[in-house]
Structures are given as structure tokens and as C-alpha cells.
Symmetry: D3
Subunit: 263 residues, 6 copies
């Protein structure tokens, strides 16, 4: 049995995605994965960063932060320190890069989508939960832009989610590590994958251990299973807001293939 | 009728205080006042800042922040800017100063209580909601320290809450302004008061208007009413966790008017 | 008898206002209140901050600083630390907000007035002395703009000054606290008021004490008396430069109660 | 034919490692991989960071920077900007983490090894060249500590090197991308591996593309080949300084298996 | 005739040195040189910077700043910018280095003297006026330490002052340039010299011009004359406070050679 | 005999200047003076800083840095500290000011030349080696602009180099101090001079010692000799690239003593 009571090594934690969690943002969710809770919002800005001006393309960027008591020990605020930690920079670069892979920035037009991931409570896997939640908030914001005729077509190419996997001290591969498992793991991997099983990002590392190609393959197998379930959860969450959105998006149901079809 | 539908000028918005909102902190609440939502946590640290070392006294300090999309327009993160705004500094100094007024720091011993107020959604009155919520989180953390025999006595001297009041463009005094009212007000006042009606902090200002002593008195009258109701809400919230805390806290207030009773 | 030798609780310290203290600024004074000495200057800039562009209105903003040895212990320079303290931010926001209350920014046109308050020597009441001095420097700069036909009308709506009041450990209300009194006070209040007795800003707080509504009223009564005397001192100072300024300023105030007359 | 004239997709660029490149550091190399040139140094400090004090273990940490004109366009210095970019943070965290995987920090004792990687000229693959060069500089510094009896045993567990691989716009897998290839690649992967073929770190990502499990495997196959050659180059470089170092290290020859044996 | 009305090229501006200008510092002066006005203070701290600990020696360090409206155009505060300019750093390093040349830091003991130079009004020569004023404030603070038996001997080795000289567009050498002269000069030199005519610091530069050895000699000749007069002014200023200080310092008279004798 | 083995007090260390050291910059050299090694590059940017816009003139500016292990003890990176030290600011201001003295910025047109000096290895005299190397890199970049018809005339007015001189503890004047000599010197002087022997910049200082006019003259005599030899080295280095540059540069100097001749 696993440290948080799960029975199987390839078992995902319970995931919930509450849509329209906040009043002001164009898209927002509260995603929970076990005890990990992240608020993800998507904000539409009608301009692009200087390096993209006058190219007819948009941009998607992400920021990530934790509340000071998201963790067992209080963390000093980065705003109080006056700078971001390397960990934060690394995570927000990862989130932005992953999301850009599935957005057609030409269809988006000269706009920036700011995705904010704020971890309210942390119990392992905050960066992967952020990506999974961020995709949902982003899809909501973009769907509303179609609904409001600000976009002609839904610019998402394919759905995307993320999960962690790791290898514990006994060599056991585990899916979706909770904090206690993560702290004790020899190898830690974060996997971002699309609905069709294509890889977007793979980051595997062992701080004081190494791993074989065979182990790497098992980590990816576990991740692939988890991501399929997470994409189901995203579809389920987005379905719930169908009453208020136009027909084209209702295709995004668990059994319909076409999340992003706008026919 | 008021801009958010309230019927009376001296009517408070609906207040809810959800205790133990987060898993890790020693005390935590989610306070909502109308559409304003703030997570307040209290963290106990077993040391004091350098200027207080070896004096046998403790310290209470506060930090305040907003999620970027707590507001209608996205705000740039202070961590990204690399510094706190003057507004944030002003607010967190106010919260800390107010809380210290009602804590007996000698009874607290050489410890620091860090109070974090993170605004999840803003609709006016975030600093006063932060104070009201912060007091509750602080009381929870201190009650647990008594329960765990880390403290001999509960070091809170008296209960405390805060509310805003203002004067609108027609000269009407209003209690507990929502954002739309606040943005249009000529005069804005924040009032922090104890259960016995003593003033802790009064900050009244008019950016482009002035006010009379008579108006000031009406603002304080409105504030006093609101604060009595907020203290009732705090007592109600703390009562809910009574099963898990010792008897002594059930009659905690100095003068038997009973800190936490609403029976 | 008071700690600095004054005989009455409602007695102001000796105030002097030396006009045209510096050569370069459009308006400048050295104000002394007892041992507290502040250089206040007003600078006219022919543009406004981005948020005000093309609105036909001006802006008044303030900055505040202390020399390192203005105080008994040397303070580290904020420039060396690389950031402003919360105290400085709070004070400069207060000064700017107060001054804006009495300037008609539409009459000012698209200009910014920068008010700089630099404390040369500190003995309590530096923020209130800054406001009283800053108003005088600002009025000088604006009067010269009228004289030079850069402004058609003098854009000051009403005169304004500021003073502190407090309650000592024995419950005695005191006006215009010197540093020694301030350090020992239970309650500290800063009051900004116009010549006609209207309130601009009230900030009262007790770090480790609370106060009643009755005490609050006495603090305001004391403040009101002090402010009348400070406005007389401002008028006296401005009168001295009348030889060099046009007639219109000799009866500048809105209701003939005469901004600058002390004849 | 490849953009820089190489004939084979799995061909490494010419690698040279000049040892003792600088006079002062305990270990230093100039590593060149094609047109990419990096100075790597290792500095021994006789203390550890606060979080490791009194645990009997050491630490290895890395810093990375580029000269402003290492690149075709001049980059603003991070020292002038006042902060590190996310890219720099990400790279130096990667280098440090990778090196720690192959150092037995208990054998190192309470010391920190600072590894500095300064890119003099950039033409793709600066982070992987940094890791390959950094390992050599680190090994030199540690070997000298053994020689000087500051260490009883050589604390390196196994040799390590790094290389990039990618997929170009036609789906062709390429080893060791030069800048022009890297800028045009759909997928980019950095691989850190030990002499025995165990993975230390895998980071694969596609900014605007995705990749399959099969492609991932080919990228790893290419990387594995490249790393074997890079480890040969490291061994060759270290062999050249054998005259000045003790016998135990001479085992680190191209044909001997055991770089780190000290039996 | 010179731009500020002086008749001779080697004529110093009027210098005044007002001692004990501020209440709190151990030593303080207001020095004026023509229209340039600088407040210089000396603060005694009973510890040394880390690099000097336990060496039985003291330290003298300086900080320099300008009020925003010391100049014709308002300067942004360095505290607001969050960092010191290169000009400020250069000047405060110069002041500190010059003062350390004439203080016997072993006699000073493990103490730091902080010298603060704050320019109230600038009209050229602020760095040299700062040095001349700073020496006087420093001497006052050290004399008082002798008087209070905190020091056995007066640790000043020799008196010191500073002045500028320059070459104008017509090749004329000028002493003690006012701002208007300085802005138009081809060559600018700052000279720090002791009472006995020994050089402490020479900094000569031409931004868009060069100069000959012969011109350099004339600049030094002018500087030497000016510095003798400035040292007379220092002696005169210090003599005025002799009533309050012990006999040994009275030797510091205009006609006595020995400022620093304590035999 | 001198500490690094030189036989004469007025003997320069061996100087080498390797041109086109880096691939990307418009001009670049590796200059070595004894054990001191500096990479100097010149970058052409087709715009000027805001204060020079639309004036038809260019700008030359310099930045200076050291690798962390350029020195015997590792230095913390300024990028990691988040700010430049005063020493760095002082040096880069000196380099820029010196270079601007010999460039006709009107002939340069509205362009900025960024000169970067990065010290790879330090053994005294890094700032003077930087100036000598920087001039060569600058001349290379400007010559290429003439060659490419981006400039009509070569905008360098005269050649320039820099060297240090000092006085040791026995009063001996020394030219071109190595680190060990510099650390023990009583007086340190940096001299920047043109080919025709005109002074550009003189900075002489004694941290804990003073010096006479006679000593100052000897320091300048030594400097003058050294600079003539350094200018020969620059000419020699530039000659090597003559095959690739147009004829006009072969007789570039103002008085036919021939900028680049080494006949």
C-alpha cells in the first residue's frame, strides 16, 4: 500500500476540477489532485510582447506561485525576497512552453494569454497539476472568445495534461507521487502528453541516483495511463459549463473525440 | 438600493468564515465578505526577530498579497516586479499592528506568529476582511498551542474585527463598501475595533474630498455596528471547532461576555 | 510640564518656515517644529504619469526621506538597501494624497508637481511637519506659475496643514508630540485639516493600546487648534515673499478669509 | 549534409578539452564542441551551505553565464539587469544536480565544490558542453585533493557527460545540434548519462511540436553513442596531466574501465 | 572675469564651515563653497566590518547623496531606483579612501566611523566640498572621543582637504570650478592633499579632450594653493568649538603647525 | 629583481594581443599582460541612448567583468548578487570615458559601440589591460565599418593605451605592477595616454600613504615609456589583419607616425 493509502503503483490520486472558480478571470479552475490544490486562471490581453509585434501571432505565457503556507513549513514570499527562485522560473517556463505546443498562435491573433497557477495547498505534483488545470482554464477562456466572436475558430490543436511518475528506494515505479513519496524517490519524472499520446515534454532526473532505459520506459508507460484519465477529468469539467456556451464546444464530451472541433 | 443589491446603508455584506481551510497551517480560514474572499493563515515560529531577542516577549507580524486575477484587471505579481507596492506595505503593517494590540506578547513567549492574508477574489474591503479573518486564524493557532501545552494561558486580550465605511457622492454614509461603491466614494474609512467597542485603528481619508467632524462620527457609528456583527461571525466560526479544543476556550474573553459563545 | 519643557498639553512647538531655502527648486522651504527640521521642495514637470495622459488633468506626488543621522541612531540609507521601507512608502503616500485633496488638478493642467520632503533632523512629527511645509512649497511654486502666466488661476482650493496628537501612559491627551513623548505614547494620531476645519486625513492607532470614542474626540479637538496656528505660520511665511509675487495672491483664498494675510 | 558540414546525423562535433586552462582554480578546462567554447572551473570551499551544516556531507553547486558577445547578437549582462534569467537558473540547476549524482558527498566531507561554467562562444549545446567540461574540472580538483591528502578517497562514483539531440523539420533525428540546427529543430533533448550507460537526466521538449515514444527512443540511442565518445575525450584530457598527479589516477586511461578506482 | 563673478583664475569661492550643524551626530558640519552646500556628519559605531574583525584596527567609510532638487533639474532618488549610480559609488569610494589615508586606524581601535555627505544644493565641486567638510566632521567626532576618554590619542595623522581645478575651452586653467564652468571644461581634475602638501589622490580626466604634462602641473599648482586656504578654513571652524573641548585640541589653530599633536 | 622575475623597475610585462579571438563580435581581442588575460569585444548597435537621440552623434560605452575564478579566491558573481560593485562601476566608467576621448562621435553617426572587457585571469593591471585591448577591438570594428562602407572615414582621432605604475614600500617607483606588487604598493596610479603623449586620464591614490609631486612625475615618466611600447603592440596586432582590410587603414594615424605600422 502506498504512503497516502492508494493500493496500486499506477493509481492516480482523486482529481477534481471546479470550473469558474473565480469571478473575474476569463477562465478559471480549482484543480485538486489528492491534497494538492491549485487555482489556475487564464487572462486575455489584447497585445503581445515586443518580440512578437506585427507578426500576426499570439503568445501564451504562465506564472506560478505558492502561498507561504501551502507547505508544511512556511516559505518566505518571493515578493518579500524581491526575486523568483530558480524552481519557480523553471516551473513557469515549463507550463508556458507546454501550453504553447497545443495552441495555434496564428489563429489566436495578436493577443497574449496569461495563465496564472497559484498553489493553495501542496502535496506533491504541483507543477503537473498546474499544467492540467491551466489547460482547462485556457480552453475555457478561448471557448468564450469564440462564443463572443472575438475568435473565428477555437485555436487549441489538441488536449494536453501532465502527471509525475517516479522510482522509489526499492526500485518500484509509482504514478502521481504525493509529497511523502516524492521526497523519498530516487528518480522523479514529469510527463506532459496530448490526448493522442504524443509527448510534449519529458523531464526525468535523479538527484542522487541514476536510472536505466528500461526504467525510463516504465515511467513513461505509467505516465501515459495517468494522462488519459486526467484528460477525461478535464472533459468532464468542461462539459459541466456547456449550458452557458455555444454548441460547437459541446462536442467536448467524454465520449466525443473532438475537443477542439468547431465544425 | 445599494450597488450590490443591499437595501440599507448600514447593512453588512454576508460574511462566512470557514475554519481549517488549509491542511498545513496551525490556524487557517477562508473568509468571504460578499464577493471578497481571503485565505488567512497563522504560522507559529519558535523564534523572534533580532530586535526582540532575549526580552521574553513574542511578536505578531502579517503579510498580505493578492492573486493576479483577484481583480477585474490582472495585476502584475509583486514577485515579478521584485518589490512590494506601497499599498501592500501599508496594508500588511496595518494588519500586524492591529493584531499586536490584542495579543499579550509576554504570555506568547519568544515566538513569532506569521499571519498571511492572500486575497483570492477582491470586491472591496480586502484589508478589513483580512484583519477579521486573520484574527480568527490567529486565535485558532493560539488555542491549539494552549491545547498542546505549549502555552499556559491564551494570550489574546480581547477580540477584534475590522470594517470599512465611506461617504458616497451624494453625502450618504455607507457601511462595508463593495468595490463599485468604494471606487465612487468621496471618503473612505477603515475601522478596527475590539468586542468592547474600543478603537484600535482609524484611518479615514478623502483623495479628492474632505469631511466634517459630524460625518466622521457617523462613519464611526456605522463601523461600530458592523464590527459587533463581525465578531459574532468570528465566535460562530470558532465555536464550530470546539469539539476539538479544550474547555478553557469556551469562555475565553476577559469579561465573561464570552469570546466564542454564540449559544 | 512636558518632556521638552512645554507647559501645556495642547501647546504646539515653535514653528518656523523659511521660504526659498534652496536656489534651484520652483518652491522650497525649511520648516522647523521644535527640533524637527525638514526641507520641502516643489518641482514642476511638464508631463503626467501614464495613467493620466490626455485627460487634461495634472498630478501631485510626494517623496519623503531622512538623512542617515537625522536620528539619534544612524539609519541605513534606503538607497544602500536598494528599497524603500514600508514606513517611508506609507508617509509619502499620505503626503501626496493630502496635497491632492486641496489642488484642483484640472486647473493645474497636464503637469506633475513633485514634492520632496527630506528630514534633516528628526524629533517627532516628521510626517506632519512634512505636510505643513510641503503645502507651503507647493503654494509658492504654483503662485510663481501664475506670476509667469503658466497658469491662469491659482489651483489651490483651500489651505491645509497637519499635526500629531497622542495619549500618554497616564491617559493625558497631548498635542504635537516630540520624539520622547511619541516613543512613550499609547495612542498616536496624525490629523490633516483645512483652514475651514474640514478633515482631509485622520490616522489614529495604538500599537499596544486601544482608545475610546471620547478620547478620539479630544485628540481631534487638540489637532484642530494646532492646525489653525500652523496655517497662520504658513500665511506669515508666504506673506514675506509678497514683494516678488503679483497682487492676486494677496487675497488668494476662496472665501476672502484670505489665504496669506496675517495683517 | 548537415548545416555545419558534418556528414552523418549521429556525428558528434569535434571536441577538445584543454586542462589547467586557468592559473588560479583548483581544476579548470576550456572545452570546445565545434564552435562552442566554455571555460569550466572547480573551486573548493572548506564549508557547506547552512542547510547541510554538521551533517558530515559536502555539496556540489554550479553557476553558468555567457559573455555578452558569445552570441551573434549582444546579450545584456545579467549583472547589469540585476537578476538572472530563467534560462540561466534552469541551466545551472541542471549542471549542479547532474554532478551531484556522481559525487559521493559523504566522502567529500563538509566542503562545497563551486563549478563555474562561462560560455566564451556559443554555437548550440552550451549546457551540455558545460556539463561535460564541468565534470572534467571537478575530477581534476578532486584528484588534487587526494594527491594533497585532503581527501582519503576519490569521491567520484562514476564518469558522466552530456549531449543534445533533436528532430529537425523533416523528422530527421540529429546528434549534437549546432545553433543553426537547434533554432530550426522541432524537438530538443538534453541527455546526461554515465560511462556505464545509466541515465542521470533527460529533458526533452518541443516548443511548437510534439513527438512519439519511438522518436524519443531514437533520440536516446543517438545520445548514448555521443556520450561514450565524450567520455573518451574526458579520459584523454585527464590522462595528459598524469605526470603531475599520483598513480591512482592513471587508471583513468581510455582503455582502463575504472576512472574512479582507488584500490 | 569668471562665470560666477570671481576675478582670478586661481581664486577659490567663499567657503564657510558651520560646526555642530545637527543635533544628533558625533560630528557634523554644513560646508558651503559658493552656492554648493553639503551636510557632512560623522557617526561612531563600536564595531568593524567582517573583513577587519579581531585585527585591532578600525575603519572609516563614507556615503554620499544628493537631495533630488540639489540641482537645476530634479534627479530621481537612488532609493526609488533601487540602486546607486556609478557616479555615487565612485564619489563615496573616493571620500572614504581619502579619509583613511590620514587616520591611524590602529589608534582608532575596533570602531567604524561612518561619514555621510548629503548635498543640499549643488553648484560644482560637490565631491571636493564633501571631502573638506567630511574631514572636519570626522575630526570633531574623534576629538570628542578623546575628550570622553574613549580614545587615548587623537588618531588623525595630518589634516586634509580637496579642491577641483580644470582647463576651459580657451586653455585657461581655473581653480574651484562652479557648475557652469565645470560643464564647459575640457579637462577636470580633483585633488586631495594634506596640510604639508603631500598628494593623497589625483584624478584628472578629459571626456572629449586630452592634456599635456605641463597643463597637469599647472592644475596641481592651482590645487595646492586652494587646499592651503581650505585647511585654514577648517582650522578656523574647529577653533570656534575650542571652549568645549580639551586643551590638546587647541593647538589646532591657524598659526600652530600641529593639528594633530597630542604631546 | 621584481616579484614576478622582471629585472627592471620600468620594465613592462610581456604583452600579446590576439585579434579576432571570437567568432561573433565585430571586433575582438584576447590581450595578455603577464598573467593577466582579458577578452575585449566591440559591438556595433545602430542606435544611441535616449539622451543623444537626433543629435547626429554616436556613443561609446564599456562594460567590465571578471570570471569568478579569475582571481586566487573565488568572487561571487555580480549577477548573483544582483548588483554591480563600486569597483566595477568605476572601472567601466573609466574605460568608456577614455575611449570616447579618441573617437570623433560625429563621424561615428547615430550608433553605439559597446565595448565588453571580460577578465579571464587576473594578475594586476586588469583595468589598464582592458583599455589597451578595448582600443584595439574598437579600432578593428570601426575599420570593418569603413571597409563595408558603413562609415566614410575612420572616426578614431588618435591611438590610446593605458598602464599602471606604483611606489613600493621602499619608495621605489615601478611600472606595470603584477598583483603581488600591487597588493603591497603604497601608491597606485593608472595612466591613459595617446600615441602623441597627451594625457587622457590620470588616477593616482594611496590608500594608507601619500606621495610628493616629484614622485608623481616619476610615475608619469614610467607610464609614458610603457604606453609607447603598448601602442607598438597594438599596431603589430592590427597589422596582422591588414590583408583583410582596405589600404586607408595602413596609414591611419593623424601625424603619419602611422597607427598600424610596425615597419
Amino acid at each position: 500500500m502506498r504512503k497516502d493509502g492508494r493500493l496500486e503503483p499506477n493509481e492516480l490520486r482523486t482529481v477534481t476540477i471546479e470550473t469558474d472558480y473565480l469571478k473575474h478571470p476569463e477562465g478559471s479552475v480549482l484543480i485538486t489532485a489528492g491534497e494538492t490544490k491549485v487555482i489556475c486562471t487564464a487572462t486575455v490581453e489584447e497585445k503581445v510582447p515586443p518580440f512578437l509585434r506585427n507578426q500576426g501571432r499570439g503568445w501564451v505565457t504562465a506564472e506560478y506561485s505558492m502561498l507561504p503556507r501551502a507547505t508544511a513549513q512556511r516559505n518566505i514570499r518571493e515578493a518579500a525576497k524581491g526575486k523568483l527562485t530558480g524552481r519557480t522560473m523553471e516551473i513557469q517556463r515549463l507550463i508556458g512552453r507546454a501550453l504553447r505546443t497545443v495552441v495555434d498562435t496564428e489563429k489566436l491573433g495578436e493577443r497574449t494569454i496569461w495563465v496564472d497557477c497559484d498553489v493553495i495547498q501542496a502535496d506533491g505534483g504541483t507543477r503537473t497539476a498546474s499544467i492540467t488545470g491551466a489547460f482547462t482554464a485556457l480552453a475555457m477562456a478561448l471557448a468564450r472568445m469564440v462564443e463572443q466572436n472575438k475568435l473565428n475558430t477555437f485555436p487549441v490543436v489538441e488536449e494536453l495534461a501532465a502527471v509525475s511518475a517516479g522510482i522509489d528506494g526499492e526500485g518500484q515505479t509509482l504514478l502521481d507521487l504525493c509529497y511523502e513519496e516524492d521526497a523519498a524517490a530516487d528518480v522523479d519524472m514529469n510527463i506532459v502528453m496530448t490526448a493522442s499520446g504524443r509527448l510534449v515534454e519529458v523531464q526525468g532526473s535523479g538527484e542522487e541516483a541514476t536510472f536505466t532505459r528500461a526504467q525510463m520506459n516504465e515511467l513513461l508507460d505509467f505516465g501515459e495511463q495517468g494522462i488519459q484519465q486526467l484528460i477525461e477529468a478535464q472533459r468532464h469539467a468542461l462539459t459541466e459549463i456547456h449550458q452557458d456556451i455555444p454548441d460547437w464546444m459541446k462536442g467536448v464530451s467524454p465520449d466525443a473525440s473532438s475537443f477542439n472541433c468547431d465544425e
